[in-house]
């Protein structure tokens, strides 16, 4: 992996985990000192981060870690729920046994993760792994990757929501029911479940009340 890719991976990770808080200034000179590299390749990295909405570039002023855009979150959730409904319907008819085992294994690991010390971190990774597997098994990995490129706001939104422990149990249960309905080919029940699974919290005011300084106005 090239140095630029490493730097980008590092910065993306710090932004997604909110180690770098929304609004933080990312100065080219400061970063070039931190990573011991000149401004030119760093500018390449910042350009790409900007195109993927990780940061906002204000010409001749500076670069800020972007604030969480709830409009983007709502639109991505809608996109995913529409797509995943269709994908589940497809998988109900075409899912192979090997795929079922793969999904079950992810759920087992997720169950085990709940009571680990870094529960949230592990849980989020496995949540992504579950949904990514569904896309991949349906031959739609391309679209999963497409969505991932516009995911900064959604990922951070979800992370803040999951700080509440009780959410983890709820999500695991829903995952298990999704797999259940799919294998039993109860497609009619899937729609409502997916809708709830992805969409439930978007209208709650939890974020606005507790993390208002992270949110785009």
């Amino acid at each position: 992996m090239s140095i630029k890719e490493q730097i980008m991976k590092t910065l993306k990770h710090e932004i997604l985990t909110l180690t770098l808080k929304p609004g933080t200034i990312l100065s080219e000179t400061v970063l070039s000192e931190r990573f011991q590299i000149s401004r030119t390749p760093l500018r390449d990295v910042l350009k790409q981060l900007s195109l993927e909405s990780y940061i906002d570039i204000y010409p001749k002023k500076g670069n800020l870690v972007s604030f969480i855009d709830l409009e983007s979150v709502e639109q991505i959730i809608y996109l995913r729920s529409v797509l995943e409904k269709e994908i589940m319907k497809y998988l109900s008819a075409h899912l192979v046994l090997k795929g079922v085992h793969e999904l079950k294994e992810i759920l087992d690991r997720q169950k085990a993760a709940i009571h680990e010390v870094d529960a949230t971190e592990q849980f989020l990774n496995l949540d992504d792994a579950f949904h990514a597997a569904l896309f991949r098994l349906a031959g739609r990995e391309f679209l999963w990757n497409l969505i991932q490129q516009s995911n900064v706001h959604y990922v951070r939104y979800r992370r803040l929501h999951m700080l509440r422990q009780e959410k983890l149990e709820e999500i695991l249960t829903e995952h298990q029911r999704i797999l259940e309905y799919m294998t039993r080919q109860e497609t009619d029940k899937l729609d409502a479940l997916i809708h709830h699974h992805l969409r439930e919290d978007i209208n709650s005011l939890y974020l606005q009340e507790n993390f208002s300084d992270y949110i785009k106005v």
Copy 2:
């Protein structure tokens, strides 16, 4: 509009209209002479074009206009057909009168465009305008813009298909029927129509036979 934005717009247009054919070399020095600007801002433009799949950058070798990736075309068509089915269903229930007029006007202009000298060009723009209006009227402009960012392969694919005059009449007719079913709230007929409207030609071998040197292997 900044100089960089102008250059980007120019290059994008030339690539999408196939003025710059897939495989064409875009050398930094040649472009910097053409646009009378140094390599640095040009590299910014090329970086962005690469992230949006307009070009492929081979480090230390060169930059090529990307070949048309049929896998990407199929995935985008699937994405659009799934999304647009849902959007039509929504609009059947919520479309306001003003929206109907707006869509009708686009179709009138499209009808008039068929026999113009630059029919294909005008027709494609109005085709986009029609579908964009549907997204916008459903409050999903965000997703339309998201799709547009991954559209290089699909746009060029469609352009080559539309070289056949008879396609234009067919598309216009389907647009008219879409609007018709929507206003009559015949949602059951919409699914199949959208599917056909977007998906029809993907399995034909027309492109592979006539433009094999534009296609990614």
